[in-house]
């Protein structure tokens, strides 16, 4: 059984996994790119090995180098985190071939769920409902897709076969605009995944994106940990997740949970995984895909169940039974996660890079922050803009929202722009407070300027602050320029000036 774990990832998730290993008394090995020499996961790990230059394909996607580092360090297992190599069956196989434990599912399960067409066919055979589309029929040409589109009907989505996270995805409203969007989707898919195959899927209007967390051990025990509501998205990127979903009642939770367990069993699943569903307004739900890895938003489930999913992952990988049976899983209170991204919400969510000069994270009761950054760390353009996850737990959804408001207000991060103001506005939105939102809400019905704010606007105070800062800068500039003109008695002049102005 392994006692040392290599974490094949970076950022907050590498830190998250490192913490779990530490708390289990396991030794840790980090890997890093040249851009990440001073990253938190490198600083916190017992060992650290350089993979290569900053771009992912030369570092975090170099499976060969990662396995080499594992063997060199004597690590017995590799945890892939999410993204990068987490859902690459060939990497998982290579890890096993090297005599190491892969902390995740079997390569066959990754492969089965990684090809979405096979995934849909597999779960459909197991009696799981799926969204109508072309995913099941293999890769098609543009001509074939245009033909099939007519029978699926509009609106529909073009999605990358190899993809995830919204990359290579396009929404199509009519046959006319479809050829151009196909081209764009294939280009993005190629760039992101090295594979330009795409498929079509019926777009379910007013849909909610709700997913079920499952855990499965090597003894055939499969349990679910309830749902996560992930409908708040922008450009198909999740922004905020919560559990329980304000839309899901006990009956729906049980039915979706049972189906999720069924889907996992269909591929002989082991370890942690997530079944994503689309749920329409009548509570019909459709299998969307299975993420065969740890999910970004796993902590909201941890907060309402008290179960440490990463520790369970490691436990399963060590060949132990699950610590919990389905009956042991109890839900308490409400959890919300805000993804803190380095992007400017006042400028079309443009990514923001630079050095963090100051950071003060919220803390106190009911707060959890998972982050990989700190004051002095530089945000580079090479990786994901998500720099932290801010989580709160509250006895009720209302209390969780109030707590999230105060946590967001406390958060200070200077040096890069963040989407914290977006989340603050969301927490003030009546529709969000009422739980009335679907996957289109952020893009179509949410305007930061239009939300009635809890804190009243104070342009007069903003005017005073800006004026006082401008006044200081003017005086400072004067201090620098004027002495140069005189060229003597600099310090005397400054002190006289100070006497005059204080």
């Amino acid at each position: 059984m392994f006692n040392k774990v290599l974490i094949a990832n970076r950022g907050e998730i590498a830190v998250r996994i490192l913490r779990a290993c530490r708390e289990l008394g396991l030794e840790t090995v980090a890997v890093y790119s040249e851009a990440d020499r001073n990253a938190l996961h490198v600083r916190y790990a017992d060992e650290a090995y350089l993979l290569g230059p900053a771009p992912s394909r030369e570092s975090y996607l170099r499976g060969d180098k990662i396995i080499e580092a594992a063997l060199k360090s004597g690590a017995g297992a590799i945890h892939p985190g999410y993204g990068f190599l987490a859902e690459r069956a060939d990497f998982a196989q290579a890890v096993l071939d090297a005599g190491l434990v892969f902390i995740g599912p079997k390569p066959s399960a990754i492969a089965a769920m990684g090809d979405k067409a096979i995934a849909r066919a597999t779960v459909r055979a197991a009696g799981v409902p799926v969204v109508p589309g072309t995913e099941d029929v293999g890769n098609l040409s543009d001509e074939e897709l245009l033909e099939r589109a007519k029978s699926i009907g509009f609106p529909l989505l073009i999605k990358a076969t190899a993809g995830g996270g919204g990359k290579g995805m396009r929404e199509v409203r009519s046959l006319e605009e479809m050829p151009a969007l196909l081209t764009a989707a294939r280009r993005e898919a190629k760039a992101s995944f090295g594979d330009d195959n795409v498929y079509l899927e019926k777009l379910i209007v007013g849909a909610r994106h709700i997913e079920i967390q499952i855990l499965a051990d090597t003894f055939g025990n499969v349990i679910h940990l309830g749902e996560r509501e992930c409908s708040l998205q922008r450009r198909h990127q999740k922004l905020l997740e919560e559990s329980p979903s304000p839309f899901v009642d006990d009956d729906l939770r049980q039915r979706m949970g049972a189906v999720a367990v069924q889907a996992a069993r269909a591929v002989d699943y082991v370890n942690a995984g997530t079944i994503e569903f689309l749920v329409d307004k009548d509570k019909n739900f459709y299998f969307l895909e299975m993420n065969t890895r740890l999910q970004v938003e796993h902590p909201v489930t941890e907060l309402v169940t008290g179960i440490d999913i990463v520790k369970e992952q490691i436990r399963i990988a060590r060949g132990r039974q699950l610590s919990y049976s389905q009956e042991d899983v109890r839900f308490k209170g409400h959890a919300i996660e805000c993804r803190i991204n380095a992007e400017d919400p006042f400028n079309n969510f443009m990514p923001s890079t630079g050095r963090i000069t100051h950071m003060n994270i919220p803390s106190g009761p009911g707060i959890r922050v998972d982050t990989g950054v700190y004051a002095g760390f530089e945000i580079t353009p090479y990786y994901d803009p998500m720099i932290a996850k801010l989580l709160v737990w509250g006895e009720t959804r209302a209390q969780a929202i109030l707590r999230m408001r105060r946590a967001l207000e406390e958060y200070r991060l200077i040096g890069v722009r963040t989407n914290i103001p977006f989340h603050q506005t969301m927490m003030d939105s009546h529709r969000f407070m009422g739980g009335q939102y679907d996957t289109r809400f952020v893009e179509e019905r949410f305007r930061m300027e239009e939300v009635e704010r809890t804190a009243p606007l104070r342009p007069d105070v903003a005017a005073i602050i800006a004026t006082l800062v401008a006044d200081r800068e003017t005086r400072l500039a004067a201090q620098i320029i004027r002495p140069a003109k005189r060229d003597t008695s600099n310090w005397k002049w400054v002190s006289r000036w100070e006497r005059l102005h204080r």
């Binding site: 380095a342 990514p351 890079t353 803009p385 103001p421 105070v461 005073i464 800006a466 102005h501 204080r502």
Partner: protein
């Protein structure tokens, strides 16, 4: 020193009397104003109310981020305001607009050509950074000039990509 601060079209006349006193539209106020941690973060206590804001100068405007809201303020002293008004106030509309890379990244596509007319909001260039494809849009109507980069090229932050005149 007397300043005119303009936010959302509304003007505030603010006279800075000394370190602790200002006059806002003629009303004398006691202010306790201090910078926090040597950062562009300022704390203001005024009439017992405590405010904190992040302040950033962006070209000729000041951005004030306070309680999750961004205010954009123009701050001028009386002389500056006179000059601007005398100049017709249209100064910001003249001269070419130079599209600069807001961050380092990879140019994915340039859907416009030199000499092409573009409308405000039209996409000029797609820049990939942080695993996202970011559409850089024209802030106004004009004609595309001097495209200085090509698709597939890596660009630095603030590098000029093209111009709109």
């Amino acid at each position: 020193m007397k300043y005119i601060a303009t936010i959302d079209g509304k003007e505030y006349t603010i006279e800075v009397l000394d370190e602790r006193h200002i006059r806002l539209d003629g009303q004398l106020l006691e202010v306790d104003f201090t910078q926090v941690s040597g950062q562009p973060v300022y704390s203001l206590i005024i009439n017992g109310q405590s405010f904190e804001a992040y302040v950033h100068r962006d070209e000729d405007e000041w951005e004030v981020l306070m309680s999750g809201h961004q205010y954009r303020a123009r701050i001028e002293d009386e002389r500056e305001k006179r000059l601007r008004l005398a100049g017709g106030g249209a100064a910001t509309q003249t001269g070419p607009y130079h599209l600069k890379a807001p961050m380092p990244g990879l140019v994915v596509a340039i859907p416009v050509q030199e000499g092409q007319e573009v409308k405000k909001g039209e996409v000029l260039l797609i820049l990939e950074s942080m695993k996202m494809q970011n559409e850089l849009k024209s802030p106004r109507d004009g004609v595309v000039q001097r495209i200085r980069v090509q698709p597939g090229e890596n660009v630095e932050q603030r590098q000029t990509l093209l111009s709109v005149e």
